[in-house]
Amino acid sequence: MHHQRVFQVKSPAPGLIELLIERGDVVFTPGDCVALFNPAGVSRPYSISSGQDEPYLRFLIRDMQGEVTEWIANLSEGDIVKFSRPFGWFRPGLNGDAQVRSVFVATGTGISPFISYLRTQPEARPEMCLYGVRTAADAVDVAFLESRCPTTLCVTRESVNGYVRGRVTDRLDRLPIADDVHYYLCGLDAMIDDVSTWLESKGVHFSRIHREVFFNA
């Protein structure tokens, strides 16, 4: 277990929390999660969205008004938080290989592992990022993503100039399909299920579809 100090808690959009914790000696791989524990010992896993060598661990958290997110939303600078050792199996860019051809599909805070990977691998240039959010304000690091790869932002609850209105699953026809491309999906289970099914229908072998979803009933 780790215990580190909160550096900052922000709410960049309603219902979205950005938490920065001092990294200390924590070592992780892009795609890793940690489980954050509230004082009652209840934990939830969150993906790290910062780069490997940055001084802070950054988390993007959808405020579900559950017992853990409510506690996170009320954290203050200087508070000490307890969290697990980083763990994970989702490895955008095949364990950090910046040369691999990758496509990222994310919804909501599912963008976190991709941001972590891109911040860690400055030379990585994915083929595309398809990123779905409810409102434009929910989208984080859009300029950064756009600077690194063609990015399509899909917004479901409002029309915004320059962005696509609708779900990522409405825009799958934009995804490049090729035998050497790896597809990385992160977000809600229903989206991941739909996108996986679509990719397989296009002949993408399952071994090139990489998924990150925590199934919580």
Binding site: W89, D189, R211, A217
Partner: protein, 304 residues
């Protein structure tokens, strides 16, 4: 045979002598890879969930001395459970080392952590021994399975079973046993799904009752010495997992050998630091899950 001298280990609350098993020969060693899991199923007997560290990740260095000791004792098989074993970053290396020595069985939920390492798993076929996979499919109804594990989980686990089978691995499933169920009918409910995934009709289906979550105090009858002599014979007693197997567990950074796969939430079953010493301890059937072995003949082992 060594006896643990604790009153509640030796006696039931009524003062009767508890039933016991004296282990014979060690033929199977289980390794608990850690309670960290990608899922958080509400019924999990281990209480496993993402980030959980009640039972720590095993490393290759932790495991190798036990592999060698087990082989020297005549063990015939290694088995692995979690948590989800493939969440443990060391697991493929551990499995590889085990397969250099003996056949292995892996219990898995058949989801992302396994799928994302599929190519490494296929490479294990070059090893000296075979590995079998047992995938959890709790119910023959996808919606019931997904209610605890998440949308699309049944489909994914089923597909993983098919892929493992296609790749040449032996596969089986584990399911939940419902109270009063018609077991043959419930087993038969899987047939169309097996067919869909290209799996054999006669797949082994291992059934487990509700073992309850760790630390639970289930109200079950206590098993006395009288129960064990009156209701079981020698062959039945020999089929108890604690008669022929052990499980290696790491807690608080310390390795220990437990009596079986179901009692790692009770420190009394942390028998010894080595397999050989653990076989010298008389196992009292104190844990509420011991009753599942007594009443239902439950066993995590396969083909024993």
């Amino acid at each position: 045979m060594r006896e643990i001298l604790k009153v509640d280990w030796l006696r039931t609350p009524e003062g009767d002598s508890r039933g016991y098993i004296e282990s014979t020969e060690l033929t199977e060693v289980w390794f608990h890879t850690g309670t960290n899991c990608n899922l958080s199923c509400p019924f999990c007997l281990e209480g496993s969930k993402p980030g959980d560290d009640r039972l720590n990740f095993l490393t290759l260095d932790d495991v190798v001395p036990f592999l060698d000791e087990a082989v020297a004792m005549g063990c015939q098989k290694f088995s692995f459970t979690g948590g989800e074993p493939f969440v443990n970053p060391h697991f493929v290396d551990i499995l590889g080392a085990a397969l250099d020595r003996l056949p292995c069985l892996v219990l898995t939920n058949g989801t992302e952590p396994l799928c994302n390492r599929f190519a490494e798993i296929v490479d294990l076929q070059a090893k000296a021994h075979d590995v079998s996979f047992r995938v959890s499919l709790d119910h023959p109804d996808p919606s019931e399975h997904d209610a605890s594990r998440g949308k699309g989980n049944f489909k994914m686990a089923l597909r993983t079973l098919g892929q493992l089978h296609d790749a040449g691995f032996h596969v089986s499933i584990a399911r939940l046993m419902l109270e009063g169920e018609d077991s043959p009918e419930r087993d038969a409910g899987y047939a169309p799904y097996f067919q869909e995934a290209g799996l054999p009709d006669d797949m082994t289906i291992i059934k487990f009752p509700d073992f309850m979550t760790p630390g639970s105090m289930a109200s079950v009858p206590h098993i006395t010495e009288g129960c064990m002599t009156q209701y079981t014979d020698e062959a039945q007693r020999a089929a108890y997992m604690c008669s022929f197997s052990r499980m290696v567990v790491k807690t608080g950074g310390r390795l220990g050998v437990y009596a079986c796969t179901l009692v790692d939430d009770d420190g009394d079953y942390d028998l010894a630091p080595t397999l050989r010493e653990s076989m010298q301890v008389r196992i009292r059937l104190k844990h509420h899950r011991c009753y599942s072995c007594f009443a239902f003949g439950s066993s995590c082992s396969e083909g024993h």
